[in-house]
Assembly symmetry: C2
Homo-oligomer: 326 residues x 2
């Protein structure tokens, strides 16, 4: 089985690569070749199968054709300009997130000749725009309030139509906020959801810019990879034509996040969180989803954590060698 990952140098792409290398198979089939693509060169892991790295801008005419020329059996399309950049640079966001996605889909379509890979597309909860019901259900409409969310919603529509037409076998998965993100603090408005856990565990101070009753939906990086693997290997005959699925997540308030951190790492860790309200971030967060009812994805076998304690424990296992620092 040949696998292609677009966006392989990103956090989720790297973790997906690690898991594929570790397991050597996908859905019971041995991996024979893995192609890692990104706009910057992805790391090439040691593996029991052939690994190739490719660097290009897949939104340039002709590039997508090269990526799929070897007819990969499974394509993970994780490549995207992120929300802030797509908002700041209108042309670039549409070029990468819309044109790039369409070039990829068309490159697959044009091969024809019975070629129809499994295509897993990462969409985002940014396809939703406030006001929301308390829990966003599977039939709630998409009214994105960012260009990024618009581009992801268009990708979902194309994926469903190209799948219905038989050009590939697509599954779109809407990722919740991924928490706890490893690495350094970043400037994303949502960064505090991770940093109030990560920095205190690493002995550093973190700033909480919103009130304790702010509620949001999370899943771990390990779950994100699990969603991708499941989407790539599941029996899609059960999905029907509605190919885009909101992934399961853990809905908690910031206060509940901190309570979980206290249970796992104690009061002296929690004490590293400094509460300093930021009106700009507060305003952003008011427009974000609080909870999802992801019944369809759950009934199709997608699984996230069942508590925020579990999400922290996964961070400790995967990033801190299993040892809670004191």
């Amino acid at each position: 089985m040949q696998i292609l990952i677009l966006g392989a140098a990103g956090m989720v792409g790297r973790k997906l690569t690690e898991r594929l290398v570790r397991e050597g198979q996908l859905g019971g089939e041995a991996i024979t070749r893995l192609i890692l693509h990104d706009v910057v060169e992805p790391e090439r892991p040691q593996a029991s199968f052939a690994v190739e790295t490719l660097t290009s801008d897949f939104s340039m005419p002709g590039e997508a054709e090269k990526l799929v020329a070897g007819r990969p059996d499974v394509i993970f399309h994780l490549a995207a300009i992120v929300s802030g950049e797509a908002e700041a640079d209108f042309d670039k966001g549409y070029r990468i997130n819309l044109d790039g996605t369409r070039f990829l889909f068309d490159a697959i379509r044009i091969i024809g000749d019975g070629y129809g890979p499994r295509l897993v597309f990462t969409s985002s909860i940014a396809v939703f725009g406030a006001p929301f019901p308390d829990a966003i259900g599977d039939e709630f409409f998409l009214t994105p309030l960012t260009s990024y969310g618009t581009q992801k919603a268009i990708g979902e529509l194309l994926l469903a139509d190209y799948t219905r037409r038989g050009f590939f076998d697509g599954v779109g998965i809407r990722l919740p906020t991924i928490c706890v993100r490893p690495g350094k603090p970043n400037k994303a408005a949502s960064g505090f959801f991770s940093s109030i856990i990560r920095e205190p565990l690493n002995g550093q101070e973190a700033v909480l810019p919103v009130s304790l009753d702010v509620r949001h939906a999370h899943a771990s990086p390990r779950s994100a990879v699990g969603f991708l693997i499941h989407a790539a290997s599941m029996n899609t005959s059960r999905i029907g034509p509605r190919r885009n699925l909101t992934m399961p997540s853990v809905s908690v308030t910031v206060g509940e996040q901190i309570d979980a951190l206290r249970r796992i790492a104690g009061e002296q860790t929690v004490a590293r969180i400094r509460h300093e309200l930021d009106p700009t971030i507060i305003r952003f967060v008011e427009g974000w989803p609080r909870r999802f009812d992801a019944s369809r994805a759950e009934s199709l076998g997608f699984r996230a954590e069942s508590s925020f304690d579990e999400i922290i424990s996964i961070y400790v296992e995967d990033e801190l060698g299993g040892v809670v620092p004191t």
Copy 2:
């Protein structure tokens, strides 16, 4: 006020043109120039203001720029490859309905310099895909089951994002089935909804291919034009970011359509309907919406007919000189 109509040669475009010419104004402002565009040359009406006709394929690079170069204040974008053709010719459907729409939107955007016309886009109930609730509400999700519906849904998303970005002031209106369509019978699967009224009124036989309990949602051509005029002249500050609206309609069964025809034109007219079930059309119709709850559009002042009797009466007034044939 300058007005541009794309798709001016179609049935709705012609009726919109007629009304603009008759009224000489839009939203209280005198029309100074009307530009009629289509891929075939639109008829040029006699009017109290300048009328220009243009013929081109607006999906060819550079054509959309020419259309908006004169900075029309209001743009009606009615141009589209219809459902059946977009399904039969994948490339053509995406080229006209998606690329053409995006070229138009970008041509407006690139003018910049404070230019921001009102843009009215005709979407379609084809953005919805079965299974449906009994009545499709304003927050029901878009899961089109045709390439045409996919392209219209993408147009809606682009319209909302370009409006949010301030490039134009867009309103997308989802038209229900337009009934009674004037003219000759056509081969559209939905054609019978009009032909079982039109042909009997014209002394001809019509075939009803589905059972009497099939329910569907209708509005007259006069209402379709009314929706466009209202969308072009309403105060959009009341809409908010959710710029795409399901239009009001009359939900009736085929049996109720025929009862209305009987009340208006008598039993001898109804007797011209021959019932002959067609399994193919029956299967199509099972996937179509039956009823809409268009509360948002209604609260924003959009009005359709209140009964199917009224829809037939409008056909008699507008197409038969106000005289019910016997």
